[in-house]
């Protein structure tokens, strides 16, 4: 008995395959030597990056997912515990508080600094005197180490000798214990975050503004549009791609805030300023619970993925 007889359907398909011109094997496209060389050069050039991403991104990401299901305390081999870390995490009041704080921090730092950045960018795109100086001044916080910035803000927020309370006193307002009063600690940290984030956003907006066709403004002027009308009807819509980009990187940056918390408040007082990244750090390096820290990192990653996908969806729908 032949194979076709034993399996009639397979045999028919095989026969059809043989006769059908559409399924006949295609002739391989001949690649020139120059093309081969070009492709090889391309692979050669991206190899370091691929190795880098594989070694320092892909493997750690996979390891983090794996470790999130384990009890791993560094000193002994990881023990598989299924979802225990996740259950414990979502029953931990401090971690839940850190999620709330992170969302609150993001809510205030991202829109506020974006709004300020776009206004500053528009102002600094008008050909003002000392324009370069102002651009540098606004961008300076971005290139200064956060720890150094936080040290300066520690002094600004100092309840006794700080600049902020001194300024408030001059206008008759009472000073506050900014970083040690739970009522004010998170707003104070938010203020630093929003201030520090303006520079990079401004830079991206300036680049985007310079790509807007001047003829649009000229046409609007001929139609008698005011500056405010031009801003909302031309500038804002034309900045949409930049806005989306700034929004995404700002959210990611806000969710990853760590160093300023570490220096300014250490998560306190009474966990008032702890963030998700700070809890990851605390679990990993203070409590030696790498499994828990990995689970917290996975949740942080899920948050970022969710926000990014939502943002993409919204932008796509608007387009």
């Amino acid at each position: 008995m032949t194979t076709t007889e034993r399996h009639p359907t397979r045999g028919a398909k095989a026969a059809a395959k043989q006769v059908s011109p559409s399924t006949a094997p295609k002739k391989r496209k001949r690649i020139s030597t120059a093309e081969k060389k070009r492709r090889r050069a391309g692979w050669l050039m991206i190899t370091p990056s691929v190795i880098h991403v594989g070694l320092w991104t892909l493997i750690p990401v996979i390891a983090t997912f794996y470790l999130s299901f384990t009890d791993y305390g560094i000193f002994a081999a990881p023990k598989w515990i299924w979802f225990d870390n996740y259950v414990e995490m979502f029953n931990d009041a401090v971690f839940m508080q850190s999620i709330g704080n992170t969302i609150w921090y993001t809510f205030w730092t991202v829109p506020v600094s974006m709004a300020v950045a776009v206004v500053v960018a528009v102002l600094l795109n008008q050909g003002l005197k000392l324009q370069k100086f102002y651009r540098t001044a606004f961008f300076l916080p971005q290139v200064t180490a956060t720890v150094a910035i936080a040290m300066v803000w520690l002094w600004i927020f100092n309840p006794q000798y700080g600049l902020l309370n001194a300024m408030l006193e001059t206008i008759g307002l009472p000073g506050q214990a900014w970083l040690v009063d739970p009522k004010w600690a998170l707003p104070a940290v938010i203020l630093v975050g929003a201030w520090q984030g303006i520079g990079i956003k401004m830079l991206i907006y300036i680049a985007a503004l310079q790509n807007i066709d001047e003829s649009l403004y000229e046409a609007a002027s001929l139609d008698g549009a005011s500056s405010i009308r031009k801003f909302f009807s031309i500038t804002v819509p034309m900045l949409k791609p930049a806005t989306f980009f700034v929004f995404i990187i700002s959210i990611i940056g806000a969710f990853q805030v760590f160093d300023q918390i570490y220096v300014l408040t250490d998560g306190g007082p009474a966990n008032a300023t702890t963030m998700m990244t700070y809890e990851v750090y605390r679990s990993a390096f203070q409590e030696f619970r790498m499994g828990m820290a990995s689970a917290q990192s996975v949740v942080l990653f899920a948050f970022l993925l969710f926000v990014t996908l939502i943002s993409r969806r919204v932008t796509k729908e608007e387009d």
Partner: protein
Amino acid sequence: MEVKSQIRRTASVAMVALLGLGIAACTTGEADTNLNPDEVSGEISLLTPIFEGSPGQDLLEDELLPQFYEEYPNVTVNVDYTTYGNLNEKLTTAVVSGLVPDVMLMGVGWIEAFADKGVLADLGELGLSEDTLKESYTAEIVEAGMWDGNVYAVPIMLDTRFGVARMDILKEAGYDSPPSSWEELIEIAEATTVRSGNGSLERAGFDMMSLDARQAFETMLFSAGGELFNEDATAPAFNSDEGVAALGLMADMVNKYKVEDIGFTSTDDIVNPLINGRAAMGIAHNNLWTQAMEADPTVLDNLEPFVIQGESSGMFFGGTLATVANNSKNPQAARALLEFLSSPDAALAANEQRGNVPALTELLDSDYVQSNRFVQFAMENLDVAQREGGPSQWLEVRGDFAPAVQGALLGQKTPQEALDDLAALVQTAIDR
């Protein structure tokens, strides 16, 4: 100057030799406890949180290590400087990567965790015994370097916390001596607190906020007669009546007696409030004396240390101890460095540089201790001092203390609730 340095170097070498002999004397019989300097060789690493900054680095590299190399010419030491704030991360990553430094200086309360996990070498195998150490150190300090009945660390210096009063302020208020009970503490604190017409605090009667909240609580807990853990360190004991009373007193100082406001002082303050007169009394670190000498020597005569007295005597000590890695490739060289760093001369120099309390009781007579009233006071009262730590999970849970204490001081929770919640967290970690 050169002569002094020469004398110091000679004395140091002699001290190291004496310590070596002392260790040799307490040999277990199996371990080779005699180090022959010519036979000890190798490259070793030292992780240290106590020689950070230029003065500390200069002391270690320009003075101490040359003395060590003179004795052990075939040993090379690579130093990894850090601070206590970053030591935990350094050690954790070192353990994970398998590159554990040969010699590590750690804090009191840290030994349990790393000894339990097998990171540290049992110094008994190198010839050090509990009994011999107790001849040179206070028993409680030796126990800070022990785990499961074995010696894993040799103490170098102590950080103590106790009460300090500004006697010029107290005298103005009609008091001739620091408080000798909690009742007096409250009375004097209230009498010395100063508020302006609009109610804002100008001088705290009793400052607890310029010190880490955990350490302030521990000092008060010990003065209440409480303990952090039960005897075998298997359960928290700080949420006892004594613990609740201690945290209750701290919360009352802020909310009821109003002798300090939240945010009036902080651990970030550059000048301690006792030095610039913003506090009449407070809980302070022993290096306040050194700080005052640098900031305002005129205030030294007015600073009076006291043990906070409740049902018991409240004095807390932490400190720095020298350990050797269990997997050191050059254990003899590592042991030589450990002995050197904990020898009287090197330890004294390190203590002097940081304004700390030498762990060796024989240094009580040194010029440094005799000229530093706070260090002298601490050494004279070490018998009542208690340390933190206990279970091997201490490093995992100690970070939870400050938020719990702050929560009670801020009135977010009652002292009982704050300590019960904290105890539950601690118990979970112990049971894990």
